[in-house]
């Protein structure tokens, strides 16, 4: 419970920041733009006309849910990669702010255990990422649903996947912050993890291109642990576009990503427990 209280405290702090206000306004503006500018009625209109006249008027006509798949796919990729990038930049300061002189001493004087402080910060950022991703995707679903009559919840599930992916990145950022209290370094760690996640996605092909040696072994070792973000993004896209997914693959990916985040958090807690303030 204490960790959740810390998380809520972080959310209050985030609400006061202009970054998140700007994000909320930008997403709302984008959704309003879609509401006013998209002319998707034509899709189902043509389909209805085909049914009315008993034969297709145009063989290139697609059902609205099929026609919308690329839109949902593109939106999921935007939410996934855009969310990762925005999250790394906007959340890099939460860890250093928690550990800032004066504040950390005050927090440690309260009946809060150290691991609860870190877990609460992590959960707060995760909730923030989840809220942003779900707001964007749910808004898109509502806009497109109202326009075309196609209602699907999968883009929202796909957005949750993006938030989980960001969770693994933020765990690394938090772990780095516990060692060195620097927002820049925290952001750099996040960016590095995104790059490593991309490299891990194409691990097999890249290993094929490398000659045997310590460099290859190091690359193989690091990329064996980091979640393959590209695969997660593909899975998020497939979910959003109602495309088929390999059975069991997504569950394993998600579990692996959560385990990776848990490992980094455990390292952060281990260091935090030993550190004097």
């Amino acid at each position: 419970m204490t960790a959740i209280r810390v998380a809520l405290d972080l959310l209050r702090e985030a609400a006061a920041r202009r970054w998140f206000l700007a994000l909320g306004l930008a997403l709302t503006g984008l959704l309003l733009l879609l509401v006013t500018s998209l002319r998707l009625e034509v899709v189902d209109g043509a389909l209805a006309a085909s049914r009315l006249f008993g034969k297709p008027l145009d063989h290139s006509i697609q059902a609205a849910d099929v026609a919308l798949r690329p839109v949902f796919l593109a939106a999921s990729q935007f939410v996934f990669w855009g969310g990762l990038g925005f999250g790394v930049l906007s959340c890099a300061d939460f860890g250093p702010a928690l550990l800032s002189p004066g504040r950390i001493e005050h927090l440690l004087s309260l009946p809060v255990r150290r691991w609860e402080l870190l877990a609460g910060t992590f959960l707060g950022v995760l909730a923030l990422a989840m809220a942003g991703a779900v707001y964007a995707s749910a808004g898109l679903v509502v806009v497109l649903g109202a326009k075309t009559g196609v209602w699907t919840g999968w883009p929202v599930v796909s957005a949750v996947l993006s938030a989980v992916a960001f969770g693994s990145i933020y765990a690394g950022m938090l772990a780095v912050t516990v060692w060195v209290r620097s927002a820049a370094l925290s952001a750099a760690a996040g960016a590095s993890l995104i790059v490593l996640g991309l490299l891990a996605t194409h691990r097999t092909s890249l290993l094929d291109l490398m000659g045997r040696g310590p460099g290859r072994a190091l690359f193989a070792g690091v990329t064996a642990v980091v979640p393959p973000l590209g695969k997660l993004a593909d899975a998020a896209g497939a979910l959003a576009a109602s495309a088929p997914l390999a059975p069991g693959g997504l569950v394993r990916l998600l579990a692996g990503t959560l385990a990776f985040a848990g490992a980094l958090l455990a390292i952060a807690v281990w260091r935090f427990e030993r550190r004097d303030f």
């Binding site: 692996g256 490992a263 980094l264 455990a266």
Partner: protein, 350 residues
């Protein structure tokens, strides 16, 4: 234990779990590149085989030569060809790869195939044929043809005698057309099929030791592996053309390519590319290595795991002196998988 160390232990366990979970298993494990000995020299059995094949030349017109020669390789060199390949039919037939190929042939042609037709004429290709060599001047077949029904095979039991043991027979074209085939026999152990009597005479002269000795296409010391041969730069250029960058680089840098294939169990192929210009060879090595890596990555990117796996079995060794090597080591399982389409049976189409 200090409670704080439990966090580190938990982290270690979670890292292991993450590594296990995020690596979604492949639908099938890729085959490993087999650790096979590449054919680079005569193995003891091959040396014995090579020595057993050497014959002194036939005494002719009072000139006796002291050297011994392999009639088959001499026949291949007779026309002055720059390229030639020899298939050790008997050795290949008794290898796992040969078994697969035979199954393939039987499945495609049925038992009443060309092999049985030849058997009816006294030549069992699987038992009587030792080697088959191919050059631009024709095909040379060596083996034991004592029981051959030459009349059935060539249309005549005897031909025009030439030299000590030679006979040249012109085989008329079939009813459906084609050129006249010139079959040249040397005793009961060598048969040359070409398209001119001149070629036949050259083969017999070379084998019996008459006239100037032809420049050897392949020496007996090069007769290792179940398939071996050389390809000249001119033939290489004619074959490859140079449409691909690697092909253009190969044609430009190579003066000769020597090929040896070992199929005793896994299939190992060595192609030694020799050239005059060491720098061009170095460039060729890099081009070939790069082309292999790119092709492998492209195949994997396009989801063609079979092609990626095959390309993974090939590698280019750095140039040493005036030659570089392309080595391919294919596990027998990979070959069997590729031949499954023609063998039929349970594993076909896998």
């Amino acid at each position: 234990m200090d409670r704080r160390w439990l966090w580190l232990l938990a982290a270690a366990l979670l890292v292991i779990a993450a590594a296990w979970l995020v690596r979604i298993p492949e639908t099938r494990a890729p085959l490993a590149r087999p650790q096979v000995e590449m054919p680079r020299y005569l193995r003891p059995q091959e040396r014995q085989r090579m020595l057993a094949r050497l014959r002194p030349p036939v005494v002719d017109a009072g000139v006796q030569r002291t050297e011994v020669r392999d009639p088959m390789l001499t026949a291949l060199s007779a026309g002055g060809a720059g390229s030639g390949v020899v298939l050790e039919v008997n050795a290949l037939r008794n290898s796992p790869l040969g078994e697969l190929l035979l199954q393939c042939l039987a499945a495609r042609e049925g038992r009443g195939n060309a092999l049985e037709a030849l058997q009816r004429m006294g030549i069992d290709p699987l038992r009587d044929v030792d080697r088959v060599g191919i050059t631009e001047h024709g095909i040379v077949v060596s083996g034991n043809f004592r029981r051959a029904n030459w009349e059935g095979l060539l249309g005549s039991a005897t031909g025009t005698a030439y030299g000590e043991h030679g006979q040249i027979t012109a085989v008329d074209p079939r009813a459906e057309g084609g050129a006249t085939l010139i079959a040249t026999r040397w005793g009961d152990s060598l048969l040359h099929l070409g398209d001119s009597v001149e070629d036949g005479r050259r083969v017999l002269d070379a084998v019996e030791g008459r006239g100037p000795e032809p420049r050897p296409l392949l020496s007996p010391e090069q007769s290792y592996g179940e398939l071996y041969g050389v390809v000249s730069a001119a033939d290489l250029a004619r074959t490859l053309g140079g449409s691909e960058p690697w092909a253009a680089a190969l044609v430009e840098a190579a003066s000769k390519v020597e090929v040896h294939l070992d199929a005793r169990r896994d299939v190992a192929l060595v192609a030694d590319v020799s050239g005059e210009d060491a720098r061009k060879l170095e460039d060729l090595g890099k081009t070939l290595g790069g082309a292999l890596a790119v092709a492998r990555a492209q195949a994997r990117g396009q989801g063609d795991e079979d092609a990626a796996e095959l390309l993974g079995f090939a590698r280019v060794s750095p140039p040493h002196g005036s030659a570089l090597s392309l080595e391919v080591a294919l596990p027998l399982e990979a070959v069997a998988k590729r031949l499954a389409f023609c063998r039929g049976g349970a594993d076909a189409g896998r």
